[in-house]
Amino acid sequence: MNSEPASLNETKSHQQPLPLGTTPAFAGMHKWLQRGLVVCLTALVLEGAFTFPLLAMWYGWPTLSLQEICTEFEKIRFADESRVCIYPYPLFGPAEGAGQTTAQDQWGIQPRPQYKAIGYRELIQRVAARQAAESTGVP
């Protein structure tokens, strides 16, 4: 009958009352889980907020437009300097890379691409070098 108030008093007799649903057996575990959850939440929020702008800056934005970055990615990915990023891409068109034959890989059961990692704002230099070559090549 009056079992409920009894159990309430019992939990309150601890130095700190346990949260609802947490039994003494799991008080310690729940405390650690809560710490982990707070860390994860904070990290996810920061990642969510900063990933896009920081990535864009690494790859050359705002000096390069997003479409220029897209184009450079495409040239590197398919090892083909003639490629450009078509935007807007036609709806229901074939995948942009479908049937390509230029990409360089060391094929095998574990394929390995031959492209090199892109350094900090390296794409800007690539674009500048290409523009310089074009302006000297075509007088």
Partner: protein, 232 residues
């Protein structure tokens, strides 16, 4: 908003206590829900953070004032699991259906070039478009509807302290364990494709992704909490 008085006596006061608790909870939830919506959208996350924290502060205040509000762990797990699932859903939905947008072709590929070449190597070459790493597409198709969207629904029920919310969060968090186990194994087996020519191989990926282990943190709680509190 509403100031709390500590005087309580008789059945009537108990009724107002309940009413006040419900109001305080809803007030806190309004802030936290709008915050979580922004948080789950990744790019606007920074807008969501202060909203969410204000809601959390309101919740703590109500708790300290002696109102019977939702336990902090339930609040944290519910929102975190929803935000985790939303972030995953956005990235993978982009890759599944929007792989030729400028957004996907700049940001997914930038991310891929930096951490995981599964999102750079031969990207947009499969007829289905998007990521081409072995197995990646299959994981997206399986996990997006089965794990992430179901987990968001479960988290909503969980936050409402519904029984089905607790049960379905247990189920979808176990899905999450399967997802992590299989995904990581696939990643390790095809590590050459995923990490060759990447700016920050291995360590970068782990640092970025380790914070998505929320199901591992939620499950011990879900299995040890007194289930009677989920009775709505």
């Amino acid at each position: 908003m509403s100031e709390l008085t500590t005087s309580m006596s008789g059945m009537n006061a108990l009724g107002t206590h309940d009413e006040r608790s419900r109001q305080a909870q809803w007030q806190a939830d309004k802030w936290m829900m709008s915050g979580a919506l922004f948080l789950g959208s990744a790019v606007f996350g920074i807008i969501g953070l202060p909203l969410f924290l204000r809601g959390l502060a309101l919740q703590l205040k109500a708790q300290r004032a002696g109102l019977t509000v939702r336990p902090m762990m339930v609040t944290l797990i519910g929102y975190l699991v929803a935000v985790d699932a939303a972030l995953n859903s956005i990235g993978w939905a982009l890759d599944m259906v929007a792989h030729h947008t400028l957004l996907a072709r700049v940001f997914l590929m930038a991310w891929g070039n930096m951490f995981d070449a599964g999102y750079f190597w031969h990207y947009n070459e499969l007829w289905i478009g998007g990521a081409s790493a072995p197995g990646e597409k299959a994981w997206e198709i399986a996990l997006l509807p089965l794990v992430f969207s179901m987990r968001i629904a479960a988290a909503i029920g969980f936050l409402q302290m519904k029984r089905w919310g607790h049960q379905w969060l247990v189920i979808t968090c176990w899905f999450g364990v399967v997802a992590w186990t299989g995904y990581i194994a696939n990643m390790t087996i095809f590590a050459d494709v995923r990490y060759t020519g990447v700016v920050f191989p291995v360590i970068g990926w782990w640092l970025y992704d380790i914070f998505y282990i929320t199901p591992f943190l939620a499950l011990p709680y879900l299995h040890s909490v007194n289930r009677e509190i989920f009775s709505h």
